[in-house]
Symmetry: none
Subunit: 295 residues, 2 copies
DNA sequence: ATAGAATTTTGAAAATTTTTTGCACTTTTT
DNA sequence: AAAAAGTGCAAAAAATTTTCAAAATTCTAT
């Protein structure tokens, strides 16, 4: 009896190959051999039996079965089927090179974003998310702090929480941060965003907020980062560690997605308010727009 | 011939299924049984072994193999693979509901992000991207303007362009925007971010920038939006129109990805600078961090 | 029409191929 | 050095294909 093949939900992108990339780190020597072959000869595999493939990539059948399992399929057959189903057989995320066209880079950035989101999907804890949402939904005042690109996340979050009916504000100036959090009190929430989880000012802000009786939430990419010690809730997102050096990019997107999810939840909790004011907000924003035909 | 093969007058967008219909006339009783099943339960077959399918349509394995051959495949395996390849990739975007867990919402947000990115990938123009990158790479000063969540995109872009060695700054305050763009001159670039493409202040800023001789780039979700009339380059991203109303979310992510791609390109153009200063930036940022073990 | 030969189609079971599992061995991690 | 994880061989299981005799169909000659 063949088990049901993995259900594909959502998007048409090659789940299987994506999965290969995601799991690559946790593979051993032989499995990587196979994974490499998979990535570079995706098309060919459909025509190969497990035995043929095994000898082609210099490994054993057993390893291929195990690889298939690791990728989330019940066996080699199912993996093959999954590969066949993904119409586009493009390989995921080759590195960005300076000879790439802007569009090619864009495609790679997108792929990277997928990976980052998938990875975050795995590492983030459902319970922590829920707790964070609960705290935010019942919070009095919410102060969000972050620096650099984390400031952008904090800002975005504040923006959305505001729309969700919260009393939220973000600060990217360290002095303002200190001032803002020092006025927090019990029932309020401070949210610290820091990729490294070790930015002095952000850590200090949460510490201070906590000492005032406020609850604290951190969004970070490092599991046992200093910031977690001052946080009631830790939201762990994808790390950038091994990614393209100078322009740290995609974990940012993952963090935004986390923020989105939280804000949705909070918005639902405040549903009544949204209906009343949120929609009004939208229409009042419209008056800020120029007429289509003018100018 | 009384037996008609297809009740679903629909289509055979599927090579294999088309073949089934073409061959139907020349089949015998048992094969037709199988063919009927194929046509009506196409999706299911992927999960079935030949034995299971045989018993499901009340025929023998041998018949199925013969059917496969008749359709032009080497055997049942190959038929299944062919069916998988042609299978329709239904892309379901489940709506977010207020009963969803936070994690479930997160998953949906991710799926939505994928869709948004894929859509953007299709609508954005490679040439425009390239031109935008060229303008930015050779720009003197770069001013980015946006409001609301578009401000976040502008900010993020400024952030990255800075790291890529550009003289870039973003403004989210409309007065500051006016001031900033009015000092631009030939060789400078103004970037306007506006989802609707119709925010008065943003449109005005680009218009002003242009009148000073600067080049203008817009990032927007509407093809013939007012803002495009004042832009030398238009970067079109996914629209939010038909998405979850109040919390506008994912086109934001698409725009960030576009920005990422641009910045990469610019960074490569400035490669020498990055090597010298960019990496130094990273290490100088590290001094802002707390020691791992402390506090 | 109709018996019966010829042909085609069919399915049970055997043969084969492919996939999976069990287990001893090797490598890596702690 | 012990524990854990990964690997490949070979046996077992499963799935597919082939074989072949029986059943159904078609054809032909009464």
């Amino acid at each position: 009896m063949m088990k049901k093949y993995a259900e594909k939900e959502g998007v048409a992108l090659n789940r299987a190959l994506l999965q290969v990339q995601l799991c690559y780190e946790s593979m051993g020597r032989a499995e990587r051999l196979a994974a490499d072959y998979l990535l570079s000869h995706t098309e060919d595999i459909l025509a190969l039996t497990i035995t043929e493939l095994a000898s082609l990539c210099g490994t054993s059948e057993a390893t291929l079965v195990r690889l298939s399992r690791r990728l989330g399929y019940s066996g080699y057959q199912e993996l093959k089927l999954a590969l066949a189903q993904d119409a586009e057989h493009r390989t995921v995320t080759p590195n960005i090179e300076d000879s790439d066209s802007c569009y090619a880079i864009f495609e790679k950035v997108c792929n990277d974003a997928y990976l980052s989101l998938e990875r975050t999907k795995r590492m983030i804890s459902g319970e922590e998310l829920e707790r964070a949402a609960a705290l935010l939904a019942s919070a009095g005042r919410i102060v969000l702090v972050g620096l650099g690109s984390s400031a952008a996340v904090a800002e975005e979050a504040a923006n959305k929480l505001l729309r969700a009916g919260c009393d939220a504000a973000s600060y990217s100036d360290t002095h303002m941060q200190t001032i803002a959090v020092s006025y927090l009190k019990e029932g309020d929430v401070a949210v610290g965003v820091s990729q490294s989880g070790a930015s002095k000012d952000i850590v200090e802000s949460l510490k201070l907020a906590r000492s005032r009786g406020a609850s604290t939430i951190c969004i970070t990419g490092r599991e046992r980062a200093p910031i977690t010690r001052h946080s009631d809730v830790t939201l762990l997102t994808d790390t950038e560690e091994l990614r393209h050096t100078v322009l740290a990019l995609n974990s940012h997107i993952a963090r935004l997605a986390v923020v989105d999810a939280l804000c949705f939840r909070v918005a639902y909790a405040h549903e009544a308010l949204i209906m009343a004011s949120g929609v009004a907000n939208e229409s009042s924003l419209k008056t800020k727009r120029v007429e289509e035909e003018s100018t």
